[in-house]
C-alpha cells in the first residue's frame, strides 16, 4: 500500500499496539501531526512541554506494561525530552521517542530549530535511528519497539526528517523485527551456574534476597515470593523494587541503603549470601562498596551482562530474564527454615521501627502517606517525585498489590511525578492514581495540570509542602551546619488558587485532624485534584547512611532513642 512517511508512522504505531501517544507539535513534526486525524484509534494527548511527554510515556509504561510513546519537534523539542529519556534509560523503562527533524537537505546546515538530536541523545538512549527514507519507517518502528522492550528495556529515539514525513513509498510491515545483525538478549541461565547458585543457597545460614526493578519488569514477583517462601529467605526490595512483593508479607524486609530501613541495611551487613535479582547495586543501596555486605557471597541475576560484577563482585553471575532464571532455579533449591536468621530479622524489625511523630494536631509528612495508604487501601498506583517525600512514600505506603510504586530512581529526576502520574492515569483508568509531589519538584512540571484538566485525567496530586527543597535542606542540616543556602522557598504559589486557575479541584490540609476528610474528598473526586498538604518543615528522613559511608555511620531518628532508652541494644 502506498503511503507517505507520516501515514506509515501512524500505521506502524497502531500495529505495535499503541493506543495513546503524548506529544506537542512544532514545525519539523507538523506533517506527521496533520496526518493524525486519519488515524482516530491513535489517541494523542497534547502535553505542555516535551519533558512532560517523556515522563508521561514513562509512567504510562510503568503502570501498564505497555510501551509509551513521546513525540516532539526538532531542536528545542528534542532537547526538552532529554531529561525524560535519561530517566527512562537509568530506570530501564522502554519508551519510543519520535522527534521531528529539519528536511534531509538542511541537516547539518544550522537550519532553524536544527539540533543534532542523534548526537545529543546518544549517551542516554538504548538505541536511535534517523530515518532517511520513508520506506524504512515500518522496519525502524518494528525494531525500535523490539529493542525498547527486549533485553534490558530502555528508550529508543527515532529522528524523523520533515521531508521523509511527506515522502511517498510502499508500506511493507515486517512480521518479525528484521535486524541486519542478530539481536538476541540472553534469557536463560546455564545449568552449571544454576547448580552453583543452588549450592550457595543450600549452604547459606543468613541469606537475603535483594529484589529490584528487574523483578517487576520481568513479571517475576511470584517467582521471588515462591523462592523466598520455599527457602525462608527474607526479601529486601530496592527503591524501584518496592511493591515487587506486598508490603505486609512476613518475609518482606523493605528497602535498604541510604534512607532504607535500618533492619534491611543491618541484615545485608550480617548476611552470608545475597541473592540479587534484577538490581544493580546502586550507590544509594550499597554506600561505601568496600564495607558493603562484608560477609556475603553474591548470586547476581540480571538481564544485562554489564551489571554483573560492575559494582559488587558476583560469586555466581547469571545473565538472564529474572522470571525464567528463577523458574529454572526453583527445582534445584531445597526447602529450608533458617530459623535463627529469621528470628534475628524479626528482632531487627522490632528494634528498628520507623519513627512517626505524634504531636497533637501537627501535620507531618508521614501522616499524609499513611492516610493516602489507608484511604486507597493499598491499591492505588503511587507515583512519586524525588526527595524526602519519595522516601516517606517508600516507607509508609502499605502496598497490597504488585508493581504499584512508580518513581524516578536512578536519575532522581525532580518533576517526574506530575507528568508520570498523568501517564499512569491514562494507562490505567481502572486504578486510582496518586502522585506524591514535593513542592520543589511539582513546580518543575506543574504545567501538565493543564493537560490533566483538558483531558480530565483523574490523577490526584498530593503536594508534601514543606516550603523547602527538603532533601537538600536535610543535607545542609546534617553536613553543612544548618547553613540553608538556596533551599528555602519563601514565596511558594498558593497551590489551591493555582489548581483553581488550572480548572481542577484544589484542597488544602494543614492539620492532622482534617487529614482523613481531605484525603477522602480528594480520592472520591472524579477528576484531577491537587491537595496542598502543608506539613512541618523541620521533619527529616531517617534512617540515613550518609553518601559513601557504611552501616557504621547509620543514623536513626534521634527521637527513637529518647522514646526507647531502655529498649534494645540496637547497633
Amino acid at each position: 500500500m502506498k503511503m507517505n512517511g507520516s501515514q506509515m508512522m501512524c500505521e506502524a504505531l497502531l500495529r505495535e499496539g499503541v493506543d495513546a501517544v503524548f506529544g506537542i507539535p512544532g514545525g519539523a513534526i507538523l506533517p506527521f501531526y496533520q496526518t493524525l486525524p486519519e488515524f482516530p484509534k491513535l489517541r494523542h494527548i497534547l502535553v505542555r512541554h516535551e519533558q512532560g511527554a517523556t515522563h508521561a510515556a514513562d509512567g504510562y509504561f510503568r503502570a501498564s506494561g505497555r510501551v509509551g510513546v513521546a513525540i516532539g519537534t526538532s531542536g528545542p523539542g528534542a532537547t526538552n525530552m532529554l531529561s525524560g529519556i535519561a530517566c527512562a534509560l537509568t530506570d530501564s523503562v522502554p519508551m519510543v521517542c519520535i522527534t521531528g527533524q529539519v528536511a534531509r537537505g538542511a541537516i547539518g546546515t544550522d537550519a532553524f530549530q536544527e539540533t543534532d538530536t542523534i548526537g545529543v541523545s546518544m549517551p542516554v538512549v538504548k538505541h536511535s535511528y534517523q530515518i532517511m527514507h520513508a520506506v524504512d519507517v515500518p522496519r525502524v518502528v518494528r525494531e525500535a519497539f523490539y529493542i525498547a522492550r527486549n533485553g534490558r528495556p530502555g528508550p529508543v529515539l527515532i529522528d524523523f526528517p520533515k521531508d521523509v514525513q511527506t515522502e511517498i513509498g510502499e508500506f511493507v510491515w515486517p512480521e518479525e523485527p528484521v535486524f541486519d545483525t542478530d539481536y538476541r538478549p540472553i534469557m536463560d541461565a546455564q545449568t552449571s551456574d544454576l547448580r552453583q547458585a543452588a549450592q550457595l543457597i543450600a549452604q547459606a545460614q543468613r541469606p537475603v534476597i535483594l529484589s529490584g526493578h528487574g523483578v517487576i519488569l520481568a513479571g517475576a514477583s511470584d517467582e521471588v515470593q515462591q523462592l523466598a517462601e520455599k527457602t525462608q529467605i527474607p526479601v529486601i526490595t530496592t527503591l524501584l523494587g518496592i511493591s515487587g512483593i506486598r508490603s505486609s508479607h512476613p518475609l518482606n524486609l523493605g528497602m535498604p541503603g541510604m534512607h532504607g530501613l535500618a533492619s534491611a541495611s543491618i541484615a545485608i551487613n550480617e548476611a552470608d549470601l545475597l541473592i540479587a535479582v534484577g538490581m544493580r547495586f546502586d550507590d544509594r543501596v550499597t554506600g561505601r562498596l568496600s564495607a558493603f555486605a562484608p560477609h556475603a557471597k553474591v548470586i547476581h541475576i540480571d538481564i544485562d551482562p554489564a551489571e554483573i560484577s560492575k559494582n559488587v563482585k558476583a560469586t555466581v553471575g547469571i545473565v538472564g530474564d529474572a522470571k525464567r532464571v528463577l523458574r529454572q532455579l526453583m527445582p534445584l533449591v531445597t526447602p529450608a527454615s533458617h530459623g535463627d536468621w529469621i528470628a534475628t530479622i524479626e528482632r531487627l524489625k522490632k528494634n528498628h521501627p520507623l519513627y512517626v511523630p505524634d504531636e497533637g494536631d501537627k501535620l507531618f509528612p508521614q501522616h499524609v502517606i499513611q492516610a493516602i495508604s489507608d484511604v486507597t487501601d493499598g491499591h492505588a498506583v503511587l507515583v512519586t517525585g524525588v526527595g524526602q517525600h519519595q522516601m516517606w512514600a517508600a516507607h509508609h505506603y502499605n502496598f497490597k498489590e504488585r508493581g504499584l510504586f512508580i518513581s524516578s530512581g536512578g536519575q532522581g529526576t525532580m518533576g517526574y511525578e506530575v507528568p508520570a502520574a498523568m501517564g499512569a492515569a491514562v494507562a490505567r483508568p481502572d486504578k486510582q492514581v496518586w502522585s506524591i509531589c514535593g513542592d520543589g519538584g511539582f513546580q518543575m512540571t506543574m504545567y501538565e495540570l493543564a493537560t490533566c484538566a483538558e483531558n480530565n485525567i483523574p490523577a490526584k496530586y498530593a503536594i508534601i509542602n514543606n516550603n523547602n527543597l527538603g532533601m537538600v535542606k536535610q543535607w545542609q542540616d546534617i553536613f553543612y551546619k544548618q547553613d540553608y543556602v538556596a533551599t528555602k522557598y519563601t514565596k511558594n504559589p498558593d497551590f489551591v488558587k493555582l489548581a483553581d486557575a488550572f480548572g481542577i479541584l484544589g484542597l488544602r490540609c494543614d492539620s492532622r485532624s482534617k487529614l482523613l476528610d481531605v484525603v477522602k474528598k480528594a480520592n472520591a473526586h472524579p477528576g484531577p485534584v491537587l491537595v496542598d498538604f502543608v506539613v512541618e518543615s523541620s521533619e527529616n528522613v531517617y534512617p540515613m547512611i550518609p553518601a559513601g559511608q557504611s552501616i557504621a555511620e547509620l543514623m536513626e531518628d534521634p527521637r527513637i532513642k529518647k522514646a526507647n532508652t531502655s529498649g534494645s541494644k540496637g547497633r
Binding site: 548526537g119 546518544m122 538476541r184 551482562p305 554489564a306 560484577s309 538472564g320
Partner: protein, 192 residues
C-alpha cells in the same frame, strides 16, 4: 586497585553512520584514553572490524567491553589482551635525505625489512610494517637524519589459530577476569 595495562579490544561493527561516535562515547564515559584506533571493512559485507588500544585496569576494561557489547551496532567484541594474538602496525615516515645520507638510510631500511616508497631530492618516505616496537626502533634509528612527518596506522590485531575473537562466525569463551562465562553466548550474535 589493579595496575593499568594495555588492552587490545577487537570489535565487529555494523557499517552505519555514527557507529564510531557511539563506540567513542562509551569509551570516553569510562575515562579511557584511546591510544590507537583502526577501523576498516572486513570479510563480511556491511560489517567493519575495529581494533582499539586503551590503557586501564582490568575491571574497567572489562566494564567498557561489556558496555560496548550492549550497543546495537556492535555485533561482536572481545578484549583479546589475554589471548595469543598477532599485532601489526604500519607507519609512513618521511625522512630528510641527501645524496650523502641516502645510502645509510637505505641500509637501515633494509635491516628493518622496510621499504622506500618515495624518493625526492631532499627526502625519502619509508614504509614499515611490524609491531609497535619495531616501528619505534626504526624511528629511533632514522631520527637524527631529521624526521619530517610520521603517520602511524594504529594497531591491527588478530587472535592466532582458527578461532579467534574477531572471527565473525566463532565464539570466544575467555574474558579477562575469567568470570561471566555467558559472555560466550552473548558475543555469538553475528549474522555474518
Amino acid at each position: 586497585m589493579e595496575a593499568d595495562r594495555v588492552h587490545t579490544i577487537v570489535a565487529l561493527l555494523r557499517d552505519r553512520p555514527g557507529v564510531l561516535n557511539r563506540v567513542a562515547s562509551v569509551i570516553r564515559r569510562r575515562g579511557f584514553n584511546i591510544s590507537s584506533l583502526t577501523v576498516g571493512n572486513c570479510e563480511t559485507e556491511g560489517l567493519s572490524r575495529m581494533t582499539f588500544v586503551v590503557q586501564g585496569d582490568d575491571n574497567i576494561a572489562d566494564q567498557v567491553t561489556k558496555q560496548l557489547r550492549k550497543l546495537m551496532d556492535v555485533v561482536r567484541i572481545a578484549d583479546i589482551s589475554y589471548e595469543s594474538f598477532i599485532s601489526r602496525e604500519m607507519a609512513l615516515i618521511k625522512v630528510r635525505a641527501n645524496p650523502a645520507t641516502r645510502g645509510e638510510i637505505m641500509q637501515i631500511v633494509d635491516i628493518f625489512r622496510a621499504n622506500i616508497v618515495d624518493v625526492s631530492p631532499e627526502a625519502l618516505v619509508i614504509e614499515v610494517t611490524g609491531d609497535e616496537d619495531k616501528v619505534a626502533s626504526l624511528l629511533g634509528m632514522v631520527n637524527h637524519f631529521g624526521v619530517c612527518e610520521v603517520q602511524r596506522s594504529g594497531r591491527l590485531s588478530m587472535v592466532r589459530g582458527m578461532i579467534g575473537a574477531g572471527d565473525s562466525t566463532a565464539v570466544v569463551t575467555r574474558s579477562p577476569n575469567g568470570h561471566i562465562p555467558e559472555v560466550a553466548v552473548e558475543v555469538d550474535r553475528s549474522g555474518g
